[in-house]
């Protein structure tokens, strides 16, 4: 398979997105392309990539787990940056961006945790392990969920934007500390040696699939983010009309 789906920027945004809610009856082609890319990746991973000798078919989760982890953290990075931007410029669009990225991000985080678990069981014999990366992902999940619940608990738009921005920024400061603490914890408390291939030197076939997975997942993230952002914009426009 030779296609690497062409990547496109976030689509054209009009300068004042508050004014054009209904104009977008068009097909969300970016989303379709992204989904096709992901499906293509899976097909390639399952049928066209060799089975890894040591781990067997279960290793194929490897093509899902790290890419979704990457997206989970990327999404949170966007949340954090949008949050900082919002507190600085008080532009509601940044708040909508943060909200959208959080909703998409929490899904990818959940996928990361679940695939990590599914991978772990056949490989290590345990559903969960407290290693630094997985634990950081777990806490990322907690922050995401906290962020979304906090948003749900505040009616006033201005307060909601400010409060979730604060949480977004503090959350991004927390994750490194979690990672460090758990890492130190494990170094001093030797746990069963996990034979997880961290950055293996993959044979070309696998490497290509791996990279394809990263690209298609990122593309999917961008497509979902854009769709969700548009939804947020539409909702805001609707509320403006209703005079809320």
């Amino acid at each position: 398979m030779t296609d690497t789906a062409t990547r496109n920027p976030l689509g054209s945004h009009a300068a004042s997105d508050a004014v054009r809610p209904a104009a977008r009856a068009t097909f969300d082609w970016l989303f379709v392309v992204a989904v096709l890319a992901v499906i293509a990746t899976f097909i390639r991973a399952i049928y066209f990539t060799p089975i890894e000798a040591l781990q067997g078919p279960a290793q194929k989760i490897y093509y899902v787990h790290p890419p979704s982890a990457w997206v989970a953290f990327l999404a949170f990075g966007i949340v954090a940056i949008a949050s900082l931007g919002y507190l600085w410029m008080k532009d509601m669009r940044l708040d909508r961006l943060a909200e959208s990225s959080a909703e998409v991000g929490v899904v990818f985080t959940t996928i990361t945790l679940m695939t990590g678990s599914l991978w772990g069981k056949p490989i290590w014999g345990t559903w969960w392990t407290w290693d630094a990366r997985l634990t950081s992902t777990l806490f990322l999940w907690f922050i995401y969920v906290g962020y979304l619940i906090l948003r749900g608990a505040i009616e006033d738009h201005g307060m909601r934007a400010r409060y979730s921005a604060v949480l977004g920024i503090l959350g991004s400061l927390l994750i490194p500390f979690i990672h460090l603490s758990v890492y130190l914890f494990r170094t001093l408390h030797p746990m069963p040696i996990i034979g997880k291939p961290s950055k293996p030197s993959l044979p070309n076939d696998m490497l290509e699939t791996f990279l394809l997975a990263f690209c298609s997942f990122t593309l999917l993230y961008v497509a979902l983010l854009r769709a969700r952002y548009r939804l947020a914009t539409d909702r805001a426009a609707l509320e403006a009309e209703e005079g809320r």
């Binding site: 006033d156 403006a240 809320r244």
Partner: protein, 232 residues
Amino acid sequence: MEADALVRAFGHRRAVNGLSFALDAGECLAVFGPNGAGKTTLLRVLAGLLRPTQGRAIVSGVPLPGGPEARRRIGFISHASMLYAALTARENVELAARLFGVPDPRAATARALDAMRMTPRADTPVRALSRGMQQRVSIARAMVHDPHVVLLDEPFTGLDASGAAALSNALGVLRGSGAALVLVTHNLDEGLALATHAAIMTGGTFVRYEPRAAIDPRAYAESYRNLVALDA
């Protein structure tokens, strides 16, 4: 104090919608209006507690919200007492005096409490005081730092005759020493008695704004009733 095309919006709802006035030292603006007209929001913006969405508000030359410099010149009395129930009247007022940097907090506190005739109960915890007495303590608290502008949100509610007299007295003294007052009230009589200027506020703006001298109380009351009925 001055406001210029002041707007304060919550989301898309404009609680204050393009409002202007100017008040000199010693003047008193009475603002009448039905519930929901935006009077409380207006006061909170003037008190520096809310930022204007558009337009400006200025106190003694300092634009609001303005930070500590502006806040030092403002005294704010609202519906809620803003007191700590577990502390005594004296402690509440003295805390305010210290936070406002008043030179001799103890003496200023004693004076303020005395002006509101609260000296005998000054060392009672606020929670043990009646609503009317709590109101008096709130007022003392708001005036202990000799503000240039005093903002009052329905201050006569809950006051008995003695309390109302003490308040009118205290306000008179403040005006005499050059403070400007903005008084929000339902009660036309009390408002007009103190006002040098009067305004009727509905839907976020002043639909009437004129000097007190130009007002005939009866006609005004009639006009007020009509305007309120319209808005309801």
